[in-house]
């Protein structure tokens, strides 16, 4: 082996170890029985394995389980609704050649440009006024709305690659706008739809800020808000429970990321959201 390569292996082993050490500490202490946590050194493995107990404490006593259910609802329904509405809008712009199509595109796309802090105060006031504050439907509408601009961006790009002759021919045969959307554009765009769905599912699942702002009760608040609450409430009492909670809420996005890594990389290139 050339000495230059030896050096590369050496540096990578050191860097890799530095990155693994925090995971080691987190895992070791997430499986520690809370009673033993105070008595042992943090780097030492515990004498008994209590991951299941810690997860069930976080899940039941700290009510992460309820939030997992609600968040699964927000992430699947919100991402799916955003895909549908974004595809319809992209179809109006590209497939139906709506007048001032580029203007409408910019109106929808403008939603990704600003920091979310620009939306928070009026959203909160309106949610209180219209009785959407701390309601599941309120969070669902917000998550759908915020996922649309990115969806329009990706799906519109994809629609432009579909040759216009296809829908044109169908139209001459008398196909309605809805049929052309459902039977020509949509089946040819399943990849783009899946990309948007996966990325927006992940985004909604990981949201903390809107959950903090627009919800309060355990039934409604999304999972990351619940985890932050668990940390504030249990941090001094039971760190193993908090760490187990942090691990369990990461499972869905973790699985998704390693199953479809390519989608995430493609998504990075498409936006800075």
């Amino acid at each position: 082996m050339r000495p230059a390569n030896l050096l590369r292996h050496g540096i990578m082993l050191i860097l890799g170890a530095i990155w693994i050490i925090p995971l080691y500490f987190v895992l070791i202490n997430a499986v520690t029985p809370p009673a033993e946590y105070r008595k042992k050194e943090l780097y030492a493995p515990p004498s008994s394995f209590a991951l299941g107990d810690n997860i069930s404490t976080a899940w039941n006593a700290a009510k992460l389980g309820v939030s997992v259910g609600s968040t699964f609802f927000y992430a699947t329904v919100g991402a799916a609704a955003a895909v549908l509405l974004a595809a319809m809008a992209a179809y109006a712009i590209i497939g139906l050649r709506i007048r001032h199509g580029f203007f409408w595109f910019m109106v929808l796309y403008a939603g990704t440009i600003f920091p979310f802090q620009m939306y928070l105060s009026p959203l909160y006031s309106n949610y209180v006024r219209f009785n959407l504050y701390d309601k599941r439907i309120g969070l669902l509408l917000l998550y759908t709305a915020i996922a649309i601009p990115f969806g329009v961006f990706v799906i519109r790009n994809h629609f432009t690659s579909i040759p216009y002759e296809l829908p044109e021919a169908a139209r001459i045969d008398g196909a309605s706008s809805i049929r052309i959307f459902g039977q020509i554009y949509s089946p040819l765009s399943l990849n783009a739809f899946a990309t948007v769905f996966i990325l927006q599912f992940t985004w909604i699942w990981n949201d903390l800020l809107f959950g903090l702002t627009l919800s309060r009760s355990a039934d409604v608040r999304p999972i990351m808000t619940a985890l932050a609450g668990l940390q504030g409430q249990y941090a001094s009492a039971s760190i193993p429970v908090v760490l187990a909670g942090a691990l369990i809420v990461s499972v869905p996005t973790f699985v998704l990321f390693f199953a479809v890594q390519r989608v995430f990389v493609r998504g990075l290139g498409a936006t800075t959201q």
């Binding site: 050490i21 050649r97 909670g245 809420v249």
Partner: protein, 309 residues
């Protein structure tokens, strides 16, 4: 952007072959708007209108209840002399600098070192694992690492470096740097992936030619590889720049911007002023300033880098 120059057929809607009654023609005319409407209602009502409203509230003394009173630019003049805000500005700049140095720099290093190295994918795995974890969960894990009786201090004692132990999250500016390290631990994987894509698409010939001329290691990287990587570097730096300005989750979970508001960034200050101190008008002014910075930085960055390439 090619679709922008396509010949417009907007006026020439397809002819309805069956029953060209007024009704079907009318339906044809409004069909595009029916498809567009739901998205426009949601984006308009949930994002664009709040945006305009925030810009207006920044000129008022709105406190979350009652009617907002117009106060002109009072919030902005107050903002300039507010010591909390100057700390917040300083921390925001630290986040930008730290993010450009650490995740981007280390990501580049890892991508270059493991590119075409035997076992490279395995070496990269530790950096990808944290990327699949949310900012909130990373904050929870690193609060445990860095708290005064946490894992880092325990490890330092184990290896005989008691002298280095400290309260990582309790003093400024160490607490901000500590959180930047936590964000680096999570974010470096993205840069690695992007730089790797960049390395895969750069042409081979110049590198081979330079190798034959005896260039190796650092010189090969500095003179040949890095300049060729430029397009991807621009993307990675741009994404990191904007994301660092928007950082919220990690800070909120690890310190809530404290102690004594010493580790807030603009994104966190805005949230605290608005929702914990009920100064909606003042918080809106901070949101506007943050937006101007984000837009200004993106615009400056894009126009400069596009001009010079």
């Amino acid at each position: 952007m090619s679709q922008l120059t396509e010949p417009s057929t907007a006026g020439a809607q397809p002819v309805a072959l069956r029953g060209p009654t007024t009704l079907t023609r009318w339906l044809h005319g409004i069909a595009p708007y029916l498809f567009l409407l739901p998205a426009v209602v949601l984006v308009g009502g949930w994002l664009l209108w709040p945006f305009v409203r925030t810009a207006y509230l920044s000129l008022t003394d709105y406190k979350g209840i009652g009617a907002p009173d117009f106060v002109g630019i009072d919030n902005y003049t107050k903002l300039v002399s507010d010591p909390i805000l100057s700390d917040s500005f300083r921390n925001t700049i630290l986040w930008v600098i730290g993010t450009l140095l650490l995740p981007v720099g280390i990501g580049l290093l890892i991508a270059v070192l493991t590119f075409e190295l035997t076992g490279g994918a395995l070496y990269r795995l530790p950096f990808l694992l944290p990327y699949a974890i949310s900012g909130t969960a990373v904050g929870v894990m690193w609060e445990f690492m860095l708290r005064s009786n946490g894992a880092l201090n325990s490890m330092l004692e184990l290896i005989g470096l008691e002298g280095l132990t400290r309260s990582w999250l309790l003093r400024a500016p160490v607490n901000t740097w500590s959180m930047i390290v936590a964000a680096t631990w999570q974010g470096v994987g993205v840069s690695v992936l992007l730089f790797l894509i960049g390395l895969q698409v750069i042409p081979r010939d110049p590198i081979e030619a330079a190798r034959l001329d005896g260039a190796d290691g650092w010189r090969l990287f500095r003179d040949i590889t890095f300049p060729l990587l430029r397009p991807m570097t621009i993307v990675v730096v741009g994404i990191s720049l904007v994301n660092s300005l928007k950082t919220f989750d990690v800070i909120w979970v690890m310190t809530q911007g404290g102690p004594a508001r010493s580790s807030e960034t603009l994104a966190v200050t805005m949230y605290r002023e608005t929702f914990l101190l009920f100064r909606h008008g003042y918080g809106s002014a901070i949101a506007v300033v943050l937006s101007v910075i984000v837009l200004g930085v993106s615009w400056l960055y894009l126009s400069r880098t596009l001009r010079s390439t």
